[in-house]
Symmetry: C2
Subunit: 412 residues, 2 copies
């Protein structure tokens, strides 16, 4: 709304969008050419694959080892059953490639990896727990004032606790959603902190859903996967994606790791349930996207995507320098391609509006992420380099000229 | 399991798979070349699109008209918000193309169409209602004996009621799942029957979830969409897909129609809820698949896919003639690319096993679709023509030679 209003009011202003974390740089040719060839091959008998029926003997559902004859309406299960085992060419290979490339030395095997159409979708499937809880009332009452549900514990993190929750004060929950590097704060949890988290989950019998979609942006020695932590395989699921890793926000591809060692208190392996849900509710990621994912993980492809990551991180550095030059405290930017900029004493929507109106730059007001974001804005570095230059210049002009008069009244 | 066993036991037999309805014929070149070009363009600044941020002013969530600041964990909503409005180039165009091509003269506008990654996924999202019901106990007890939940009404259809349920005996439900042409029976409901169904839903305040994934295979004058029925817009959602329409089982693309006229008893439009769920739980179909979908709906592309449909329907005709020549009653095949073959007095698993062992042809035992399928097998016509010839020959040899001795003992 605000953006559309702004564009309407300022039809000639060149808006720079540093709001939503949307990738902007082209996908390396090594990857697009594979997808392109794969698409062409779909027009040939040899290259065509549907659910994959012609690809040999991996016809059956991993979950139920058969026709999945749960009697589900209209028999679509029959079709899906096939899928998981058979897009094969791509799925099986891609699982192997992920195990080998991303989970090398982390003890994860390819059959613990599930290809998805992006982390968002997998997280939704897992969050269904939260949503269902809300729907059936287990989350208890929604508090208008705090914007929270009573029975959902919000782990609070800000500068005062170095962006890592105080676990000694955190009540037990069944599921712990944890995102590192964190969005929006940009903080990558340290090895010691993740060890504490794993320990906490063990003691409480909780399952950690670990979101590592920004892991490849980590530049220091923070763990890139929860499975770098000993014992994590008994308490954690990891959700990740090619979106930020390889610019696949539009292509749609991701994965979820469900270790065989992860069991319910009854001793029943979670992976069996996950298989079943995946078989029933999901027909798999597009074979074109999977072909692209495979290309990304080739040595050549991986090198190419690394240079796109470097490009965004250079953007982040330039933006961070800009905000720091105004005397502001800037978080993030080191292990993620966005900043979490602190304006002590200000309201995030005010800052957001001022920046938009005066510099035509779109950011995200921190309040949108919860109460703790009230004094912050998030600034994305996903943009072409010239937009970053231009944004830095506009910000510098505005802040150096007008800050004394207007904004600095609220600044420290 | 049975298939793998069989292949193991008969390593030299050439198995013909007429089981799962899996498309086998290449996608027309007019479509694959567009996907191929689209993939190549992703390597260029001009052709790249992520969530679509660079594509103008359609930045906001259709559902909430803003940042969707529901405070959802990690702010991914921010990203998704963008998606629905912005993959734009493709989504908006594809929605328009579907409205113009598939829903011409049916009064459906493009903003009532939601692009998905395939009917399976949309149905799951809708079925979440059923699954949730089961989980929270509203479906009541699972009956081991019947394989049914007490509070779910199974609309029974077979030859005795011409494959259309007797609505005068059907209890009221909130949601009515209805598939036409039906899988597995192959029956396409007539206009009169669908008028009855719409009337039934109106009287009961039910919502029909209408699955029309096989609609383009209809060769008689049965309705191809529930929205051919007057008043359906007030009671129905339609779910469909490019999978069977265009051989996109692996590419993944579908759509759902939620008419603005469809409201809860409170008067609140269902489309507002659907938007919200889509925004929160889904990041959209792959842009590559959407580009392909658009190509399919061009005049040239549509003509090409029609010839693939004709190919499968010719297969179905050949298979139907074969089974009929044994004196068996064959349903389906006229409006769908599969047969529902009746073996009165036999058990479907026995028939399935006999055919597999004696002819190395894989079908689906009807029992997998529920009790009413006990005397049936489903035979798919999704196969290369030479496999259909070969299958017809093997079946003819087997049935004409061995039927008197073995199989006919159970036949009428």
């Amino acid at each position: 709304m605000r953006e559309m209003e702004h564009v309407k009011k300022n039809p000639d202003a060149k808006l720079i969008r540093l709001g939503v974390g949307d990738t902007t740089q082209p996908i390396p040719h090594t990857t697009t050419s594979v997808m392109s060839q794969y698409a062409q091959a779909l027009a040939t008998i040899e290259g065509y694959s549907g659910y994959g029926a012609e690809q040999g003997n991996k016809w059956w559902c991993m979950a139920c080892g058969g026709w999945c004859s749960g009697g589900v309406w209209r028999g679509v299960v029959g079709a899906v059953v096939v899928y998981w085992c058979v897009v094969a060419g791509a799925v099986v290979e891609l699982r192997k490639a992920i195990a080998k490339t991303i989970y090398k030395d982390r003890g994860i095997t390819s059959d613990e990896i599930f290809i998805s159409d992006g982390a968002q979708c997998d997280i939704s499937r897992l969050q269904a727990y939260v949503d269902s809880s809300v729907i059936i009332g287990q989350a208890s009452k929604f508090q208008e004032q705090t914007g929270k549900y009573n029975n959902i514990v919000y782990m609070s993190s800000g500068p005062e606790n170095n962006f890592f929750p105080d676990l000694s004060n955190t009540p037990r929950t069944d599921i712990i959603f944890f995102c590192s590097p964190n969005n929006p704060t940009g903080y990558a949890a340290s090895r010691r902190e993740l060890e504490q988290l794993v320990e906490f989950a063990k003691i409480n019998g909780s399952i950690i859903i670990f979101d590592s979609v920004y892991a490849t942006y980590i530049s220091d020695d923070s763990p890139r996967s929860i499975f770098e932590i000993p014992g994590a395989k008994e308490v954690a699921i990891e959700v990740s994606s090619f979106s930020k890793l390889a610019g696949f926000t539009g292509v749609r591809l991701g994965w979820t790791v469900v270790p065989k060692d992860l069991c319910y208190s009854s001793g029943f392996p979670v992976i069996n349930d996950y298989d079943r849900i995946a078989c029933t509710c999901f027909s798999g990621a597009s074979n074109l996207a999977q072909a692209g994912g495979l290309a990304c993980l080739s040595p050549q492809g991986y090198k190419a995507l690394q240079s796109t990551i470097d490009y965004y991180m250079k953007n982040a550095e330039m933006l961070a320098d800009t905000f720091k030059s105004f005397g502001l405290k800037v978080y993030g930017g080191q292990n993620v391609p966005y900043l979490w900029v602190h304006f002590p004493g200000s309201k995030s929507w005010d800052i957001f509006n001022q920046i938009l109106e005066k510099t035509h730059i779109l950011t995200v007001p921190g309040r949108g992420f919860g109460n703790k974001g009230e004094e912050f804005i998030r600034v994305s570095a996903f943009a072409p380099r010239d937009s970053i230059y231009e944004a830095s210049m506009r910000l510098t002009n505005y802040f150096s000229e007008t800050t004394p008069k207007k904004l600095l009244m609220k600044l420290p």
